[in-house]
């Protein structure tokens, strides 16, 4: 995968890092899904986000909303499984949350929280799911809460510090899905057997957040 070298906004950095993480962790994410699911989670995500990376330079960057919509469209159109509709919806709703913002580089911490909240709401509606069902929501929502709290603490938290808080909280939340019983998605068919391993979607959120935090300082 050719890695786009243009320096860009924090938004582009975050999206590109999510995409790269999905592509690089295809096997790990797939193996997690094979424990109680059907093993295709890594494959599905990787196939979609590798197109995001391949088409990266061509995306409309007229506004944050247009940019996120393009990402959402690639994912909705090209990713199957449960993840295609869910992640596509998440990006689409995130786009909606910042549709008033004119400039890719002009997003605030509050905008980030708004995008994450919107994404989570979209996933809930599309997946008929909620916190506690053992899905990626169980990482996404606690992470968003932690980010909001960190920003609200005042003192102008640095981007790096916020990213680190996101990573730490997402990881803890993903690990906390281990004792849960899946109530949605293919894992839920296994009933009690889904207990004892973390939710693949939640782990993916944590791994992505960690990579964002780890590479924040070196972003383009």
């Amino acid at each position: 995968m050719s890695s786009p070298s243009t320096a860009g906004s924090d938004l582009e950095f975050v999206v590109r890092t999510i995409a790269r993480t999905a592509v690089d962790n295809e096997k790990q994410f797939g193996d997690l899904d094979a424990v109680a699911g059907d093993g295709d989670f890594g494959y599905s995500l990787a196939r979609g986000f590798e197109i995001v990376l391949a088409d990266w330079e061509t995306f409309d960057r007229g506004s944050p909303s247009d940019f996120l919509k393009r990402v959402a469209m690639v994912i909705s159109k090209r990713v199957g499984g449960t993840s295609g509709p869910l992640w596509g919806t998440a990006f689409l709703r995130a786009a909606g949350a910042v549709k008033e913002r004119p400039d890719l580089a002009g997003l605030s911490g509050q905008d980030a929280v708004a995008m994450l909240r919107a994404a989570a709401e979209g996933i809930k509606v599309r997946g008929r799911s909620d916190l506690g069902d053992k899905t990626l929501l169980d990482a996404l929502i606690p992470m968003t809460d932690a980010v909001e709290k960190e920003l609200g603490a005042g003192g102008g938290a640095s981007g790096a510090a916020v990213a680190r808080v996101a990573a730490t909280s997402a990881r803890a939340a993903a690990e906390a899905t281990t004792p849960m019983q899946a109530m949605r998605g293919r894992q839920s068919y296994t009933g009690e057997r889904s207990i004892g391993s973390p939710d693949p979607g939640a782990v993916a959120v944590a791994v992505m957040a960690e990579r964002i935090a780890d590479t924040w300082e070196s972003r383009g």
Binding site: G30, A34, A36, G37, D38, G39, D40, Y43, S44, R47, S76, K77, R78, V79, G80, G81, T82, S83, G84, P85, L86, G88, R126, G127, M183, R184, G185, R186, S188, Y189, T190, G191, R193
Partner: protein
């Protein structure tokens, strides 16, 4: 992994290409959207029938496209629902003035993709309606809130709605028939071995040499429980009991009985299983009126079987007996 495969990412595309090459007169393959359709679809005076789902269940659904069955199938990657956009593109291509019926096995990913596609198609003025199939008795409704899975029973839905559509029934009528078939079809499967998805390259789960997975899903999802391997008679007895007691099927019922191979079990064993199931039903006073033995809805190379019962009435007997022409044939 021991499979006939080149790059696993090309597995589905190469399978579809082979299917198209083997059926040049009757099928059309649209590589951009992974779709297989009848060469003569859509037809003005016929409701079009579409089914999609993950790949790996062949001959469901791509090899069930043809006169009297599906007008198109849009498979996703192995065990992954197709992208909503692929479903939408499929619906557009077979859109008939009489409407399009979308058959969907009840899995989250498939539901979402088809619901999104149905909305998009309706926005274009296409009369599209979705029907969910959920015949698997192994997972109990009450315990898990996503509902039951759709498995081999989908064959009977395809066959009945395909026959009705061919005779000119309208969308309401075709939908009614499909709903009815689903309401009287029950299935349970079991695995002797796990399947190996090409992209994963190793078995999806570990099953010790002396254990079976009773109630397995067609994507290798765990079932009711692990059990010790027993005689065919005992294991078939468990399947037959689970299926008959669910609807329930009762003494005096006329049924269609399907013994479906999950991909790695040879036809000789399937007929052995059929004989046992037939006799066990006879002991319950249930009369097998039509029999189906072979592979209808598989799980890649998994060794195992599922047993499906459909309660028949005159309407269904007539529809199931209607002619159909699909790629799966021996001559």
């Amino acid at each position: 992994m021991k499979k006939f495969v080149n790059d696993p990412k090309d597995f589905v595309a190469e399978m579809l290409e082979g299917l198209a090459l083997a059926n040049p007169d009757t099928l059309r393959y649209v590589p951009e959207y992974n779709l297989i359709m009848r060469a003569d679809a859509p037809q003005e005076n016929k409701v079009s029938i579409v089914q999609g789902s993950g790949s790996g269940h062949e001959p469901s659904h791509v090899m069930s496209v043809g006169k009297g069955m599906l007008d198109a199938a849009c498979p996703g990657d192995v065990f992954a629902a197709p992208p909503a956009d692929f479903v939408y593109e499929t619906v557009k291509r077979v859109a008939s003035p009489k409407g399009v019926l979308l058959l969907v096995n009840n899995y989250t990913g498939d539901r979402m993709a088809f619901e999104m596609a149905e909305e998009l198609a309706q926005a274009d003025g296409i009369e599209a309606r979705t029907l969910f199939i959920d015949d698997d008795v192994s997972v109990q409704d009450s315990t898990y809130t996503v509902g039951r899975r759709g498995v081999a029973g989908n064959f009977f839905v395809m066959k009945a709605v395909g026959a009705a559509a061919e005779r000119g029934a309208d969308l309401d009528e075709v939908h009614r028939i499909g709903t009815k078939v689903n309401s009287v079809a029950r299935t349970m499967g079991m695995a002797l071995t796990a399947c190996t998805p090409p992209a994963k390259g190793s078995p999806l789960f570990e099953l010790p040499d002396d254990e079976v997975e009773m109630g397995v899903g067609i994507h290798g999802e765990p079932g009711r429980r692990r059990e010790k391997l027993r005689t065919a008679k005992e294991m078939v007895g468990e399947l037959v009991t689970a299926v008959t007691e669910d609807l329930p099927f009762e003494s005096g019922d006329r049924v269609a009985l399907m013994v479906n191979g999950l991909g790695g079990t040879p036809i000789g064993e399937l007929y052995l299983v059929y004989g046992l199931a037939h006799k066990q039903l006879a002991e319950r006073g249930i009369e097998v009126h039509r029999s189906y033995v072979g592979e209808y809805c598989t799980s890649l190379d998994m060794a195992g079987v599922s047993v499906t019962l459909v309660r028949l009435d005159d309407e269904l007997v007539d529809l199931f007996g209607a002619p159909a022409e699909i790629p799966i044939r021996v001559f």
